[in-house]
């Protein structure tokens, strides 16, 4: 279980980081969401992984650590609020700046594209 769990978290982090490094806002928002999922799972694991244990003291022999669950709950709420905010901000950025690039301007066309465009203009 540990291997599966940790590789899931690792995969989510890898995907999240990859997406955050993209140039457009939509992948970045997706990446942030994935990263926050990974972080939430990781926080769960910080209280050790157990099967079929209640987070209640005194009613069973073993119990799961209740604190990480409380932390994750808080983290999820905050994460949702922040994601909602960044989505709205991305939409406003799209409207204000006319494109959805994170740095606010279109990437300059690559030299090859520019060359072919120039050729077409020449023909016209």
């Amino acid at each position: 279980m540990e291997l599966l769990y940790s590789s899931c978290v690792g995969l989510l982090v890898a995907c999240g980081v990859f997406l955050i490094l993209r140039a457009r806002t939509f992948p970045v928002v997706l990446g942030l969401t994935m990263l926050s999922y990974a972080v939430n799972l990781f926080l769960f694991a910080s209280g050790r992984l157990t099967m079929n244990k209640a987070a209640v003291l005194g009613f069973s022999d073993g119990y799961a650590d209740p604190l990480p669950q409380a932390l994750v709950l808080t983290a999820i709420v905050i994460g949702f609020a922040m994601t909602a905010f960044v989505v709205i901000l991305a939409i406003r950025g799209r409207a204000d700046l006319g494109n959805d690039h994170v740095n606010g301007s279109e990437v300059p066309a690559t030299s090859r594209n520019a060359g072919s465009q120039r050729k077409e203009q020449g023909k016209a």
């Binding site: 990781f42 910080s46 604190l67 808080t74 901000l89 406003r92 950025g93």
Partner: protein
Amino acid sequence: MTQHLTSLPVLLPMLAAIFMLMPPCGKNLRARRIVSVGMGLLTTVASAILMLMTQEHGTSVYAIGNWSAPFGIVLIADPLSALLVTLTSFLGLVCGLYSCAGDDERGSFFHPLLHFLVLGVNGAFLTGDAFNLFVFFEVLLIASYSLLMHGGDKRNTRAALQYVILNLVGSSVFLIALGILYGTLGTLNMADMAQKVTLLQGDDVYLAKIGGLLLLVVFALKGALLPLHLWLPNTYSTAMPVVAALFAIMTKVGVYSMMRVYTLIFGEEAGELSHMAQNWLWWLAMATIVMGAIGVLASQDLRKMVANLVVVSVGTLVALVAVQSVQSSAAAVYYLVHSTLVSAALFLLADLIARQRGKVADRITAGRPVAQPLFLGGAFLVAAVAVIGMPPLSGFVGKIWILRSTLDTPYGNWFWLVYLVASLAVLVSVSKAGSTVFWHHTGKSDSEQERAHPAQICAVLLLVMCAPLMVVFAGPLSEYALLAAQELHDFTGLLQDVLGGVN
């Protein structure tokens, strides 16, 4: 009543903000302004009383809901946090006052957001729980996101987008660090962590080290330390000036968290992990000072210059945190108060100057003369002398103290070199900016020019007067700073106060 005083700097802004969203002052700007300034004043008074109380009776610990530490959340008001809370509340009051001149009409919820920001910052200063620190960070961050967008244009959206994304990634890293630390230490109460960290064995030591260094990344991001400082000049110079003035305290939250975490949890008594961040902090701080100074020299307009001055002050503070002696921490406390007030004053002044110079705004070139040269010029002179660190104002006292306290440290010579050269750069560019703006004129002053509103004048004077006052009361202030630094470094009393019943 007195035992609940510790919670007031957090509760009052929250109540104020919620109250201002409710019907009696929901749509009424006048009522909102009165409530905002009134509640700001109340918060400031409560914080000041708290500060005086901690000076007299020592640290007070407030268990929220009477759930005792380490499981419940505690608020800790020691001299350092009480001082910073007072500073924040005062800054909130002044910025609220300044915005009454019309800045708050440009968006819907300026005053509530301002109080939410004060709530977040005060909470971050007071909390004694690492996870709660994260929560208050988020509160202050979401308020700052909205304030950044307040009355903004296109440039603003771009800067805000980058700032938000960067901080969201920072929050994720923060949570990962907390997860690692909880996994190894089994607690998130900072005082308890300080005790548990000495008992670590085997691989847990390395895990805790990773957690601690990840925290360093987060605090460096919030505090705008070198590789992570690039967002700051852009963000601060596109935000509304009154918002930027308010943000002057936000980098200090990062620095304060460093002070706490790396002296309390990973401080002298942390066994293998003691002083683990010191080397990193030291060199990064030097690099930050250099980059900030270059930024100040290269700035084309006043607001960007002030933003870069903030970077320099962060570098100086972090270098002092890295020294980790009582003297250097005391110097850091004094310098922190001074630099926050002065940079806030400069942001507000840059705004007034920009308004009165028409199209040239705050660019450092010759332009139309300002309408109130005596007031603006005088205030700018005082603030500039203070920020450069020339005698006789507060910057000079701070600078002497900083240089004294770094003299005997291993890299003291390097620090002197870097810091003094940076000061020279600041001196050159600030005096150049001042003389260009006030003495090089093209065209005539317009008789219908916008003059500063009384509220604005009052706010700027309140901030600018702090620099001479910090010199006049340098004696009591430095005693207080020393007391705060001693409490910061000698925390056995704190451990007993927080965990009294447990051990």
